[in-house]
Amino acid sequence: MTIVYTIAALVALGLFFAIVLYFVAQKFKVHEDPRIGEVESLLPGANCGGCGNAGCRAFAEKVVAADDMAAFFCPVGGNEVMAKIAATLGKEAVEKAPMVAVVRCQGSPDKCQKINQYDGASSCRVAASLYAGDTGCKWGCIGLGDCVNACEFGGVSLDPVTRQVSIDYSMCTGCGGCARSCPHHVIELRPRGPRGRRVYVSCVNQDKGAVTRKACTAGCIGCGKCVKVCPFEAITVENNLAYIDYTKCKGCGKCAAECPVQAIVATPIEK
């Protein structure tokens, strides 16, 4: 008989708690739009913050709540993911050109001589807050690798010998994490370009030509030869530094051939 009482008592207790739990669950029910979960599962899930939100979940919440998707774009997922999200939500997605990060500095030690030794904390932000850097150029890459740590996709690497930052374009998602982490704003986001063709000035030095030349042999001296040779008026020289407007540049590469210091980089066309 004991076993029957025991089972009956447990069943009764179980039923009682089930009823309590049912009412509690009804009382504290949180309604969540099921589409948030759906959108989140479509997103890459890297939580990189490239869209400007705290993570993929926050992006999903905002995009579901918004009437218009114009202000939302996931740089990592790109147009493909945005189209899927748009289809799920029945909204219209905006097409954007895929971006890629480019490093605008070529000051390796053979071109840009070290004039002192930095011995403080191994962080670009710390070094930039302390002084003008260990080379004659106070504008360029510091080479302590804040961008390497910032990249969630393993796309940025630092050469241990030359202290030069290079970006693996196959890994780069264009989230902009590295660009935000760079205290000297050396890294810029530019469109990937048709078949990977990009032409950009790989220098951020705004010193006068003579000062730049003394500090680094690969630095833009602001001579303006590229401006004259450009058939599309895409190049401007401001503060002794040339800049190529990517909305106007057609990627012909004439400027790169003309540049006396080889500061303009033209990436080869991918096959």
């Binding site: 004039i115 011995d119 403080g120 904390a121 962080s123 710390v126 807050s129 302390l130 002084y131 003008a132």
Partner: protein, 443 residues
């Protein structure tokens, strides 16, 4: 029992190598380059043109804002150029470059060594003279003195504190002026007391300077209201907040100003400059700079005109040996490394310290073992290990809750860390981030 501040602090070896060397006048260099940003606040605007003849003490730049100070020519000669030149950190700052020709002073400057003890000017006249003389705080921060001597509305000064602690190792410039010019410093204090309208003044001096304490005690007998307070040796006693705590036992509230405790702190060097400006009509054109370091052939204290290159200072003690690897303007704890020895001295330059690689090499950074030494050493009661971690994770709001803005950047945490973690380096960056956010919030 001698007084000191209550919380934290460290005891670095004081290494006052140049304390036996009397102040010498540094011979004039061939050219000086006078920086337009020698003070906290807006850089001054040059009022001379290239080719102008200037005399010692002539105004060459006027202040360009409320927090700014006048700049005077420290030499006589011709203005050669007004151009941007790199300062000791490598940043381009406008400089007035003057070719030295002779040593002709403005006639109104009293250059006699006689002591002038009579003061007939009113408080307003004193402040005007201090402002005209371009005096800034010579303790290191170079805050314009006339602003510090005019408390903001609603706040009143009760007491003046003279800072003769010189808690930074190696530096001996304040020690020497207290020993050689005690009467002038005491008179400077009297002048500032009149400007502030206070009746009391404490002069805080650390116990490792017994001659200075004795000299200042004798000087204060002549003047009423001045008391010399010998202090226990502890770094960073010369910090404004620490000195107020040590002498009058009051704490500056978080985010508050020292004036909230009723105290105004001035460096003894500033006091001497105030005396010279008010009684002798001499603007701030020179200061005492200690050139020191174990590796140097000699360690000396010089009276240096503003705008002399650091390399020239080194030559004056016989040049730096080949093994010298680090040059610091200021002391080893808070001084700034010099990137460019052609950079020139400023009004608030207190020392040129030369160290060898063996003395400065940082050991490899290890993991934090949560020993809490940095929290014990922090004179502001912060938790440096936590702030360092939060900064590396970019958690700005939590840094603000942990009062990162209270950090005085004294470097005690970094000095005491057994794992050699560059705590202060990271905290300084985090502090700048938090301050930026707090300022943007105010707007």
């Amino acid at each position: 029992m001698k007084k000191t501040f209550a919380m934290g602090g460290v005891h670095p070896k004081d290494s006052k190598l140049a304390r036996k060397s009397a102040i010498e006048d540094l011979p004039l260099p061939a050219t000086v380059a006078i920086s337009m940003a020698q003070h906290l606040g807006a850089p001054a605007t040059p009022v001379v043109a290239v080719g102008d003849k200037v005399k010692v003490g002539q105004v060459i730049a006027e202040p360009s804002g409320f927090v700014s100070a006048r700049v005077h020519s420290s030499v006589s000669g011709t203005v050669k150029a007004i151009e941007p030149r790199t300062d000791l950190a490598g940043n381009l700052i406008p400089h007035v470059v003057i070719d030295v020709e002779g040593d002709e002073w403005l006639p109104e400057i009293d250059r006699t060594p006689d002591f002038k003890g009579d003061l007939t000017l009113s408080a307003e006249q004193i402040l005007a003279r201090i402002k005209d003389a371009g005096i800034v705080g010579l303790g290191g921060a170079a805050f314009p003195t006339h602003i510090k001597l005019s408390p903001p509305p609603g706040k009143t000064a009760e007491v003046l504190i003279l800072n003769g602690t010189e808690c930074e190792p190696y530096i001996t410039s304040d020690d020497r002026i207290m020993r050689e010019h005690p009467d002038e410093i005491a008179m400077g204090a009297k002048i500032m007391m009149k400007a502030l309208g206070v009746g009391r003044c404490f002069i805080g001096i650390e116990e490792n300077k017994p001659e200075a304490i004795a000299a200042m005690r004798i000087a204060t007998i002549r003047f009423g209201g001045l008391v010399v307070v010998p202090l226990k040796k502890k770094y960073p006693q010369g910090g404004e907040k620490q000195l107020i705590d040590a002498i009058i036992g009051r704490r500056v509230p978080s985010m508050g100003l020292p004036i909230d405790t009723g105290a105004v702190v001035q460096n003894v060097g500033t006091s001497l400059a105030v005396y010279e400006a008010v009684q002798k009509n001499k603007p701030l054109i020179d200061n005492i700079v200690t050139v020191t370091g174990k590796c140097l052939p000699a360690q000396k204290n010089f009276r240096v005109r503003v705008g002399v290159p650091y390399s020239y200072l080194l030559e004056a003690v016989g040049g730096a040996p080949a093994k010298a690897s680090k040059f610091i303007s200021g002391g080893p704890m808070m001084g700034k490394a010099i990137r460019n020895l052609e950079a020139t001295t400023q009004k608030a330059t207190s020392s040129l310290l030369v160290l060898t690689e063996a003395e400065t090499k940082r050991r490899a950074e290890g993991p934090c073992i949560r020993c809490g030494k940095c929290a014990d050493a922090c004179p502001m009661g912060l938790q440096p290990f936590l702030l360092n971690k939060l900064m590396r994770l970019n958690r700005t709001d939590e840094m603000e809750q942990e009062k990162i803005f209270d950090c005085i950047e004294c470097g005690c945490c970094l000095y005491t860390c057994p794992a050699n973690i560059p705590l202060l380096d990271y905290i300084r960056v985090g502090k700048a981030d938090v301050m930026k956010i707090m300022r943007s919030r105010k707007k």
